[in-house]
């Protein structure tokens, strides 16, 4: 039985796809058989972040419409053994997704995988609702700014009402908060919301905090999930996040402003 986790946010550009790729990679590195599905039909990105855009033949919509088998569409990751990617279609729109089709895909994956990560599109419309509908857990990605927090709040409300678990009256979806692009220096200056304020407003468990980092941008452009860059702060923060997702107790890092010491200033600072 696989655990189905949706990575969602409401607002666009907060780091859903980056986080879905990094967490899926982290789970696979920990030996979990993981599939990551791009639900952003029409605005396909996950394949770029995962660095497999040249190997896409079939996609989620082909599978749902019966034009290809699931095994034909799943792309095996070149770097980690247990990781598979199901890309979205770039030439269709979200209307091509059906609830029955998505259910069938998830049911099939359910037998072979430990984790299924659903990378949700932005917004609260059909694509986002289908991405979350069958989830067991949700990772709500939030940036430390008011509009992102409000949109996340809206999504958490939808998770409690517009999902299969909610409609059946099963145990509710477990909601986790993942704060990305956190810059402790700018928080101290008052440019960004601080961690405690975000936690107070959203009132769900904090799964992880990813510092704003050049490593993330670099990773995206190279098509290598940042989890592989274990010397970077963001890579380590995602590894911590994955450990917590697996039930381990890991102390929070990178949430306080570190003044650069004399040595690191002299040698340019290796923590990037």
């Amino acid at each position: 039985m696989a655990k189905i986790i949706v990575v969602t946010s409401g607002k666009g550009g907060v780091g859903k796809t980056t986080s879905a790729a990094a967490i899926a990679t982290g789970l696979a590195l920990r030996g979990k058989k993981t599939a990551v599905i791009d639900f952003d039909v029409g605005l396909r990105n996950l394949d770029l972040i995962m660095g497999c855009e040249r190997r896409v033949v079939y996609d989620l919509v082909n599978v749902i419409q019966g034009e290809a088998g699931l095994n034909q569409a799943l792309i095996r990751d070149k770097r980690v053994d247990n990781l598979h990617i199901l890309p979205a279609s770039q030439t269709r729109d979200k209307e091509a997704l059906t609830q029955e089709g998505v259910e069938k895909v998830l049911d099939t994956l359910n037998q072979d995988f430990d984790f299924i990560i659903c990378d949700s599109p932005a917004g609260i419309e059909r694509g986002a609702q289908l991405a979350m509908y069958f989830a067991d857990e949700a990772i709500v990605v939030t940036n430390p700014e008011v509009s992102s927090v409000r949109d996340s709040d809206r999504i958490i409300g939808l998770l409690a009402s517009k999902t299969r678990r909610a409609e059946r009256g099963d145990d509710p979806i477990r909601e986790h908060l993942l704060i990305t692009r956190y810059n402790p220096g700018r928080v101290d200056l008052g440019d960004m919301l601080n961690l405690d304020d975000i936690r107070e407003i959203l009132a769900i468990d904090l799964l992880g905090l990813i510092p704003e980092s050049e490593a993330v941008l670099r990773a995206s452009n190279q098509g290598v999930p940042v989890t592989h860059d274990d010397s970077s702060d963001a890579g380590q923060a995602y590894a911590d996040t994955v450990a917590r997702l697996l039930g381990e107790e890991v102390p929070l890092r990178f949430h306080e402003y570190q003044k650069k010491g004399l040595l690191s200033r002299m040698f340019g600072g290796t923590r990037r």
């Binding site: 409000r150 949109d151 709040d153 809206r154 958490i156 409300g157 939808l158 409690a160 009402s161 517009k162 009256g169 107070e200 407003i201 009132a203």
Partner: protein, 253 residues
């Protein structure tokens, strides 16, 4: 928006409004049977029958001609004020108009649930957050004192309503959320969204909250926006009430 009109010279303004309304769904057209049932209801919950406006829903009746005038008389005798009729064939519409009542087209889908059936399931709000996405759970008539308790965070885009009595929110009301009550609104947490008390016009109603950051406060239609609120009161525990038609916000600290 005609900006040139002098506000003082206007006799009225039209405003759109969504008022909660009791719908009386008729399953019998016999005025005598209606009279009997109303009489027994009146003894059960007299508080409900205080010139309460009702809409007579006749969709379920399959009769071309209704003794509408007699039915209305029975209602008025029991302190219910029929204001409109919903559904029914053309003759019913004509006689509704003749009686000075409004007429609404029938509503096939999503018909309002009968108040009785809600009454059983009603002490809603405890346990599951059952009211996301503008769900107005109707409280039972007569439970005016009880109102409704909602536990948990009311999130952006959600609306929680107590159409009868008070609404108690044990949790925060976030920005973009809306809480409404016929009576008082109590928020045992931060109030960041909109709070409307006395939505039926009760000007004695009030709003009470632990931490004021509200986008909008309204009592019986008199409102203040966040911008109008004294910044010194923000973040404090307050009560909001009407004094001489003015909304007054007082600290409880």
């Amino acid at each position: 928006m005609s900006l040139n009109v002098d506000r003082d010279s206007m006799a009225f303004t039209f405003k759109g409004g969504m008022l909660p309304m009791t719908v009386m769904e008729l399953t019998s057209a016999d005025p005598e049977r209606i009279r009997e049932q109303l009489a027994s209801k009146l003894s059960q919950s007299p508080a409900f029958f205080q010139h309460t406006p009702v809409v007579l829903n006749v969709e379920k009746l399959d009769e071309p001609h209704l003794a509408l005038e007699r039915i209305c008389a029975v209602c008025r005798a029991h302190k219910l004020l029929p204001v409109a009729v919903r559904g029914g064939p053309d003759p019913v519409k004509q006689s509704a108009w003749a009686l000075g009542l409004g007429w609404f087209p029938p509503q096939e889908a999503s018909r309002p649930r009968a108040l009785e059936s809600v009454a059983d399931a009603a002490p809603a709000g405890d346990g599951k957050p059952d009211a996301p996405e503008a769900v107005a759970t109707e409280a039972p008539p007569g439970a005016t004192a009880g109102g409704r308790i909602y536990r948990g965070t009311v999130r952006s885009g959600q609306q929680v309503t107590a159409p009868e009595g008070d609404l108690v929110v044990v949790g925060a009301v976030n920005a973009g959320a809306e809480v409404l009550a016929a009576g008082n609104v109590h928020v045992y947490g931060a109030l960041r969204g909109r709070a409307l008390a006395g939505i039926h016009g009760d000007d004695k109603a009030g709003i009470f909250c632990r931490e004021l950051h509200a986008e909008l406060l309204s009592v019986a239609g008199n409102y203040k926006r966040l911008e109008d609120i004294d910044p010194r009161l923000l973040g404090t525990t307050v009560q909001v009430q009407l004094f001489d038609g003015q909304l007054s916000i007082k600290s409880l600290d």
